[in-house]
């Protein structure tokens, strides 16, 4: 540090006040609550992925094991839970797809693809993939 020319000079150190962050900071605004809920739904996404893996594994364990799983899946409590799960997955998907035009800038030559096209493209891809999966399941059934 440079030596002060004036020997009597005393450097000023302000006495700051720093506000403590409250534990419920995320209740301050609707957008924070929505953000936290979106993050929380990641757990539901993980559960859905895990359930899919379990289903695939059970299929390899034979018909009896698969029947037991189907029996468990058809229980009213499990069905109710999975309806809630579906709602959270839809919320997660929709909120993320709505954010994509902000993150993704596409160019075709010198033309910048408009945000609405990026947004619509993601929804179209989601719809097409969902239809393909439904057709596969219907075909198998």
């Amino acid at each position: 540090m440079a030596k002060a020319l004036n020997a009597g000079y005393k450097r000023h150190y302000p006495k700051w006040h720093r506000e403590r962050v409250p534990i419920f900071w995320w209740l301050r605004s609707a957008s924070y609550v929505k953000f936290m809920f979106r993050e929380l739904t990641s757990l539901f996404v993980a559960y859905a992925a895990g359930l899919l893996l379990v289903q695939a594994w059970v299929l390899g364990q034979g018909a009896a094991a698969h029947a037991r799983l189907l029996n468990w899946l058809s229980h009213p409590a499990v069905v109710t839970w999975h309806v809630i799960l579906l709602a959270t997955l839809l919320f997660h998907t929709v909120t993320w797809l709505n954010l994509t035009p902000q993150a993704l800038v596409l160019r075709l030559g010198r033309w910048r693809v408009p945000k609405t096209v990026v947004w619509a493209g993601h929804y179209a891809a989601w719809l097409v993939l969902s239809l393909v999966i439904v057709c596969l399941f219907v075909g198998v059934a």
Binding site: P14, K15, W16, R18, W25, R28, Y32, F35, A103, L104
Partner: protein, 246 residues
């Protein structure tokens, strides 16, 4: 003349350990901004009130404050728009308060400098060769990010910065992106070294409020996500095509 109650956060470190609120009854006219009300308090009621302001036209970025819990430029926010009172005015959230409505912005200044917000050239071409020309499309690439006025409203809206002050923050990353996207710049790698660290772009969880409060529609949240995407593509390229230099 109409009047409104204005609650102003006061912090006088030489006499008070904690801040408190002073309430002022402020007469106002239809076209008054919040800054006019604060200036009225300073000029007519209590000259010791401390705060920053300069241009009164939404350009200097000095008069950012929390009004009813939201970060705004007080020179660009009508009193009429925050009625019925009381109107609560506080310093920008996330920054240490020096006095009343004045925050210490040194942290932002240091972070801003770290991302090197200027044009970096590996080699300058001779003056005789003329200017670095740009097409309108090349200008359009970064123009939005160049609108940043360093008002720090985005930092006050960012819960990540408040929870982890090490986070380099929205405006600094948006300004880094502004220069990365400039066709004249060659400093992308240098900035990536800074922003790919633990306190850089990956700290952002995309709350998105920084873009909502930005008075210049810079969209720092978008800039950060674009940066993340670029970094991811860079990483894949370095693994899959190590011979290719971007």
């Amino acid at each position: 003349m109409k009047s409104v109650a204005v609650e102003v956060l006061r912090y006088r470190p030489e006499t008070e350990a904690e801040p408190s609120f002073d309430v002022f009854d402020v007469p106002y006219e239809d076209n008054w901004m919040i800054l006019d009300a604060i200036n009225h308090i300073k000029d007519q009621v209590d000259g010791t009130l401390s705060y920053r302001w300069a241009c009164r036209m939404g350009v200097c970025g000095s008069c950012g404050m929390m009004v009813n819990g939201k970060p705004v430029l007080t020179c660009a926010t009508y009193v009429e728009d925050v009625l019925p009172g009381p109107v609560r005015v506080e310093p920008l959230r996330g920054f240490p308060v020096v006095r009343d409505l004045v925050t210490d912005i040194q942290d932002f200044m240091v972070k801003l400098q770290r991302v090197k917000p200027w044009i970096i050239r590996e080699e300058e071409k001779p003056l005789a060769e003329g200017e670095y020309l740009q097409t309108p499309e090349e200008l359009e690439d970064y123009k939005q990010y160049s609108m940043c006025i360093n008002c720090m409203l985005c930092y006050a809206a960012c819960p990540i910065y408040e929870l982890d002050p090490e986070f380099i923050g929205p405006a600094a990353i948006a300004l880094a992106q502004r220069y990365n996207l400039d066709s004249r710049d060659q400093g992308r790698e240098e900035r990536m070294d800074v922003l790919s660290q633990h306190d850089g772009m990956w700290g952002c969880t995309f709350v998105g409020d920084c873009s909502v409060v930005c008075p210049k529609k810079v969209d720092p949240a978008g800039a950060i996500q674009r940066y993340k995407l670029d970094a991811t593509v860079d990483w894949f390229q370095s693994v899959l095509m190590p011979w290719r230099k971007r």
